[in-house]
C-alpha cells in the first residue's frame, strides 16, 4: 500500500474508530460501575450537538490555538501512518500538545491555567519515555522510519519488554485517564472544574474531542508497532491495551502531580533506560542477536518476566499512594 493511501485511510477512518473507541470506553466504564451506560454512538452525538452551539470565549484568540492543535495532531498521525521518521512524529505530537496548552493559557482563567500547567507537567513526565521508546525501536531495527520498523521481521516487544511496559505507563498519561487525569478530568465537577478545557465550548470543544480521537488512534497504532511482525497479534494487543487503560482508569484514584512525574520518570529510567542499556550491551556482542526467530521467541520470553517483576513493586507502591489519597 502506498503511503498516500494509508494516510488517506487514516484521515477518514481515525475519527470514526476513535469515536467508536470512546463510545466503548464509556459503555465499558459504565458496566464496571454497574451502570447501563450511553449508546455506543454517544460521542458522535455529543460532538454533533456541540457543533451547533454558540461559541463563547474569554479571550478572542483562544480558539485559534485549538484549531492548530487539531491540525497538528492530524499531521502527526499522518506522518506516523505515512511511515515517516519516528522522532519527527514525536516532535510534531509535542508541538500539537503545546498549542493545546497555549490555548488554555490564553483563555486566562485560573482553572484552565492550572490545567495547562498540569498538562505541561504531564508532558514533562511522559516525554523521556516516549523518546526512549523511539530510541529502543531504533536500536533493534536500525531505523527511525516507521515504515522500516513496521516491516522489521523480529517481534519488537521481545527485544523491548521494558520499553513496552514503560510505554504502557506513559499511555496512561497520554490517554488522560486516572490515575493521571490531572489536567482535565472526565469525571464530574472536580477541583479544577474541567481543567485545561474549562473555558472552551461549542465547536472548539468539539474540535478538541475530535483531536483526541485522532490522537488515540495514533497511540494505539504505536502500540501495534511493537507487534508489527504479527499483524493479528498487534491488532489484538492494541485493543487489549485500550481495555487495560480503561480498567486502570476505573481501579485507580487520581494521583498527585508529584507522584505522576516521579513515577513516570522512574519508569522511564528503570524500564526504558534499563532495557536500552541491556540492548547496547548485547549489541556489543552481536552474536546474541543473530539467533533465528524461533530461538529468539523462547529466550527473551524469560527476560520479559524480569522487568515485569520489577514493575510490580512500583505498581503496588502507586496503589498504596492512591489509597492514601
Amino acid at each position: 500500500m502506498s503511503p498516500w493511501i494509508r494516510i488517506l485511510i487514516y484521515l477518514i477512518a481515525a475519527p470514526l474508530v476513535g469515536g467508536l473507541l470512546a463510545g466503548w470506553d464509556r459503555r465499558i466504564t459504565a458496566r464496571m460501575q454497574s451502570r447501563r451506560g450511553p449508546p455506543i454512538f454517544q460521542p458522535f452525538y455529543d460532538v454533533m450537538k456541540l457543533w451547533e452551539k454558540q461559541s463563547l470565549v474569554v479571550r478572542r484568540s483562544q480558539n485559534f490555538y485549538i484549531v492548530f492543535f487539531l491540525l497538528l495532531v492530524i499531521f502527526t498521525g499522518a506522518l506516523f501512518f505515512g511511515g515517516s521518521d519516528l522522532l519527527l512524529v514525536i516532535f510534531a505530537l509535542t508541538l500539537a500538545a503545546i498549542f493545546f496548552v497555549l490555548g488554555a493559557y490564553k483563555a486566562s482563567s485560573p482553572y484552565s491555567f492550572i490545567g495547562a500547567e498540569r498538562e505541561l507537567i504531564q508532558m514533562m513526565a511522559y516525554e523521556p519515555m516516549v523518546l526512549l521508546t523511539a530510541i529502543g525501536m531504533y536500536m533493534v531495527t536500525k531505523s527511525f522510519a516507521v515504515n522500516d520498523i513496521a516491516n522489521h521481521p523480529t517481534l519488537l516487544v521481545l527485544m523491548l519488554p521494558g520499553v513496552f511496559l514503560g510505554f504502557l505507563y506513559t499511555l496512561e498519561i497520554k490517554f488522560r485517564k486516572s490515575p493521571f487525569d490531572l489536567s482535565c478530568s472526565h469525571h464530574a465537577h472536580q477541583e479544577l472544574v474541567r481543567g485545561i478545557t474549562t473555558e472552551f465550548g461549542g465547536r472548539t470543544l468539539a474540535l478538541i474531542e475530535i483531536a483526541h480521537w485522532y490522537e488515540n488512534v495514533f497511540l494505539l497504532g504505536w502500540v501495534y508497532l511493537f507487534f508489527a511482525s504479527m499483524p493479528a497479534l498487534g491488532l489484538g494487543m492494541s485493543l487489549f491495551v485500550f481495555l487495560f487503560v480503561i480498567l486502570v482508569d476505573n481501579v485507580f484514584a487520581r494521583l498527585k502531580w508529584q507522584t505522576a512525574i516521579k513515577s513516570a520518570w522512574l519508569a522511564a529510567l528503570v524500564l526504558g533506560f534499563g532495557n536500552i542499556l541491556v540492548l547496547s550491551l548485547l549489541s556489543a556482542k552481536p552474536a546474541a542477536l543473530a539467533a533465528p526467530a524461533g530461538g529468539a521467541v523462547a529466550k527473551p520470553a524469560a527476560v520479559e518476566t524480569v522487568p515485569a517483576a520489577a514493575a510490580t513493586p512500583a505498581l503496588n507502591q502507586a496503589n498504596e499512594i492512591a489509597k492514601r489519597n
Binding site: Q54, S55, L56, V57, V58, R59, R60, S61, N63, F64, V67, F68, L71, L72, L79, S84, D85, L87, L88, F91, T94, L95, I98, V101, L102, A104, Y105, K106, A107, S108, S109, P110, Y111, S112, F113, A116, E117, L120, I121, M123, M124, A125, E127, P128, M129, L131, L132, I135, M139, V193, T198, E199, Q258, K262, W265, G272, I276, L277, L279, S280
Partner: protein, 627 residues
C-alpha cells in the same frame, strides 16, 4: 589576509578610540559605522571560497610574537594587581603560573619555533565570524540605545562609564575574531586571555559589591581554564614540536590526547559547564548587552568552538566520553534548574548553560554527525538567545522587573516585544524551528555513538519544554486589562531586535542551505564523510514550518463569530475575570502564578549535585588523558 587582519584589528582599534570619546553623537556614528563595516566584512568573507588562501603577514613573525608577549605580560600584571587588591591568592597564583609558563615557553622554545600558518580560515571559522559579526554587531547597536536609557533613566546611581563600556565591547569583538582565525595556538591563547579580561571588566561594570564579587569569580574560573590552555601548549610542543591547531588535529590521537584533553578543559571552563557554571549565572549583574554578548556571540561560544575543534582528536576515546558526559550532565541539570527560577535572565542563563552542554556533548562524541549537529546548535542558539536577552532588557526597562510573573499580559502591554520574544522562544525549543532540528540531530548522533547517553537528552529536553512553555503562556495570558506601554523601544534597540528576529526566522527557514553551503563541507573536510538529516525529513520539516507559520493568519478572523464572556472563577464575577465573590461575601482578586516545582527539586540542590558529579568527571578526564 588584509580582510582577516582588518576584521581583527578594526574592532580593537575602534575600542581604543572609543575609550577617548565622551559625547554621544560621535560615539553613535562610530559604533554604527564600524559595526556595518564588520558585518560587511564577514559577509564578504562568507562569499569567498574556503579555505581562504592567506598570503604572508606584512610584519616578521618574531616581531609579532614579541609584541604579543608584551601584551600578555601587561595583562598578567593588571590581573595580578586586581588579585592583590581583592586579596584573592588564587588569582595571583593562577596568573603567575600561566604567565610564567608562557614567558618561559616563548623565550626558550618559542624562539626556534617556525609556525607555517598563523592564521587559518575554514568554513567553521567563517560561520563563527558571521555569528560574531552580525550578532555581536547587533548587540553593539542595541547597546547604544540601551545604555543611554540605562544611565539616564533606569540606573542613575551607577557611575556613567560608557566610553569604557563600548571600548570593551569592541575589544571583545576583535579578540573573538582573532580567536576564531588563529591557527597558532599561542596567538589563540592571547585572544583567549583578552576575552577573559574583557568579560571580567564588563561583569564588574556597575561596581556594586555583587558585581565585583561575581566578576572576580568569573576571573578565577577562566584563569583556571587559561592555565590548562597554557599547559596544553607546552605539552603539545613537547609531543609534536608544533603548536598549530590544524597540524594538531591531523596528528595521531595518542600523541595529542593530553593537550586535547586540557584544551577541552579550558573550553569547558569558558563555556560555563558544570562545575564552572556559576560564573555565567553571576554575570547577569552586568547590563543586558553584556549578558547577551557573553551568552550568544562571544565568550561561551569561544569555549564550545574550541571543544568542537578538538572533536576529531578525542572522538572514540575515553577522554571524549568524559567530555561528553560533562556536557550531558550539564544539559540535564541546567534544564531542570531553569524550571525552578522565575527570574527571566536566570532562566535564560541556565538555558544557555544547558544548550552549551549539548554542544559540548557533541564535541565529546566527536563523530561527523555530532559535530554537524553541534555547529547547527551554535548558530541557532546564538541568534535566538541573543534576541531573548535583548527583549528581556527592553522589558526590564519598561516594567522595572525581570520576573517572569510580572510579564503576565505582555502581549497586550508591549505587543511588539512580546511577539519577538515568542519568536525567540520558538526558535529555542519548538519543533520545527532551529534548536529542535539540532536537538534531533544530536539525538541521532548520540544514539549511533553511545546509546546510553541518549537518556540524558530525553530527560533534559522534557525539562526544557516545561520552562519555555510556561514562560510563553505567561506572556500571552491576560488577566484584567493591561495598559499598553507607549514607546516600547528606542531606535537602537528596535534595529537590533527587528534584525535579530528576522535573522532567527531566516536561520530557521534557510537552515538546509546553511548546512549545505557551510557545515557539510566542513564536516566532510575534517571527517571525510558527510552528515545531514536526509532530504525527505527536511521536506517534512519545511512543510511543518509552513503550517506553523500560518498561525498568525488566524488572527484575520480575530473576534469574529464568538461571544466574549467572563472567565469562570468558581464564584460570581464582580469585575470581569479579575475579582469574584467568594466565601462569606468577600471579594477576592484573581492571581495566577506558575509552578516552579520547588518541592520536587531546588536550584541549589541541583547545582550541588551537578558540581560534584562534573568535578569528578573532570578529574577522571585529566587522569585518563595522562594515562
Amino acid at each position: 589576509v588584509t580582510l582577516i587582519l582588518t576584521l581583527i584589528l578594526l574592532p580593537l582599534a575602534t575600542g581604543l578610540v572609543l575609550l577617548g570619546l565622551k559625547s554621544n553623537l560621535p560615539r553613535q556614528i562610530l559604533v554604527s559605522g564600524v559595526t556595518l563595516a564588520v558585518c560587511g566584512g564577514c559577509v564578504v568573507l562568507a562569499l569567498m571560497p574556503t579555505p581562504v588562501k592567506l598570503g604572508d603577514l606584512p610584519v616578521s613573525q618574531h616581531g609579532i610574537n614579541l609584541g604579543m608577549l608584551l601584551v600578555e605580560v601587561a595583562m598578567s600584571l593588571f590581573i595580578l594587581y586586581v588579585g592583590i587588591r581583592a586579596k584573592k591568592p588564587l588569582i595571583v597564583l593562577l596568573t603567575l603560573a600561566q604567565a610564567g609558563l608562557m614567558v618561559w615557553f616563548e623565550l626558550t622554545a618559542g624562539k626556534h619555533l617556525e609556525v607555517a600558518q598563523n592564521l587559518f580560515v575554514d568554513k567553521f571559522a567563517v560561520i563563527m565570524a558571521l555569528i560574531n559579526g552580525i550578532v555581536g554587531g547587533g548587540i553593539c547597536i542595541y547597546a547604544l540605545g540601551y545604555m543611554r536609557e540605562y544611565h539616564e533613566v533606569a540606573h542613575r546611581d551607577v557611575q556613567d562609564r560608557r566610553p569604557l563600556f563600548f571600548a570593551l565591547l569592541f575589544v571583545f569583538m576583535g579578540a573573538m575574531f582573532g580567536l576564531i582565525f588563529a591557527n597558532n595556538l599561542a596567538w589563540l591563547f592571547l585572544f583567549w586571555e583578552i576575552t577573559t579580561l574583557c568579560s571580567f571588566l564588563l561583569i564588574g561594570y556597575t561596581r556594586t559589591d555583587e558585581a565585583k564579587r561575581n566578576a572576580l569569580r568569573a576571573l578565577v574560573m577562566n584563569l583556571a581554564g587559561g592555565l590548562a590552555f597554557a599547559v596544553a601548549i607546552v605539552f603539545l610542543h613537547r609531543q609534536t614540536g608544533n603548536i598549530e591547531l590544524q597540524a594538531m588535529i591531523n596528528s595521531p590521537k595518542a600523541l595529542v590526547l593530553l593537550p586535547a584533553a586540557l584544551l577541552c578543559f579550558a573550553g569547558i571552563t569558558k563555556s560555563a559547564q558544570l562545575p564552572f557554571s556559576s560564573w555565567l549565572l553571576g554575570a547577569m549583574v552586568a547590563p543586558t548587552p553584556v549578558s547577551a554578548l557573553l551568552h550568544s556571540s562571544t565568550m561561551v561560544k569561544a569555549g564550545v568552538y574550541l571543544v568542537l575543534r578538538m572533536a576529531p582528536s578525542v572522538a572514540g576515546t575515553k577522554v571524549g566520553m568524559m567530555v561528553a558526559l560533562v556536557g550531558a550532565v550539564t544539559f540535564v541539570v541546567g534544564s531542570l534548574a531553569a524550571i525552578t527560577s522565575s527570574e527571566a535572565k536566570r532562566v535564560l542563563a541556565w538555558s544557555t548553560v544547558a544548550n552549551l552542554g549539548l554542544i559540548v556533548l557533541c564535541g565529546g562524541i566527536g563523530t561527523a554527525e555530532a559535530v554537524w549537529a553541534g555547529i547547527l546548535l551554535i548558530i541557532f542558539h546564538a541568534v535566538a538567545k541573543c534576541l531573548l536577552f535583548l527583549c528581556v532588557g527592553v522589558v526590564e526597562h519598561k516594567l522595572h522587573s525581570r520576573n517572569i510573573e510580572d510579564m503576565s499580559g505582555l502581549v497586550v502591554r508591549m505587543p511588539k516585544v512580546a511577539i519577538m520574544m515568542q519568536i525567540g522562544m520558538a526558535g529555542m525549543f519548538l519543533a520545527p524551528f532551529g534548536m529542535l532540528i539540532s536537538k534531533w540531530a544530536v539525538l541521532k548522533a548520540v544514539v549511533d555513538a553511545y546509546p546510553s547517553l541518549s537518556v540524558f537528552i530525553a530527560f533534559g529536553s522534557a525539562a526544557t519544554l516545561f520552562f519555555w512553555v510556561k514562560w510563553m503562556g505567561k506572556l500571552i495570558e491576560v488577566v484584567g486589562t493591561g495598559e499598553r506601554i507607549k514607546k516600547e523601544m528606542v531606535l537602537g534597540e528596535a534595529i537590533a531586535l527587528y534584525g535579530l528576529s528576522a535573522a532567527t526566522a531566516l536561520a530557521c527557514l534557510l537552515f538546509p542551505l546553511i548546512s549545505i553551503r557551510f557545515i557539510e563541507p566542513y564536516v566532510y573536510e575534517v571527517f571525510g564523510q558527510a552528515a545531514s538529516l536526509g532530504e525527505g525529513n527536511v521536506i517534512i520539516m519545511t512543510a511543518m514550518m509552513g503550517v506553523v507559520m500560518l498561525f498568525p493568519v488566524c488572527f484575520i478572523g480575530y473576534g469574529r463569530g464568538v461571544k466574549v464572556m467572563d472567565a469562570y472563577l468558581g464564584g460570581a464575577n464582580v469585575q470581569s475575570s479579575v475579582k469574584f465573590r467568594s466565601i462569606a461575601d468577600s471579594v477576592q482578586d484573581v492571581s495566577i502564578g506558575n509552578y516552579y516545582l520547588h518541592n520536587l527539586f531546588t536550584e541549589a540542590g541541583l547545582a550541588r549535585w551537578g558540581v560534584i558529579s562534573c568535578s569528578a568527571l573532570l578529574v577522571a578526564l585529566v587522569t585518563l588523558a595522562i594515562i
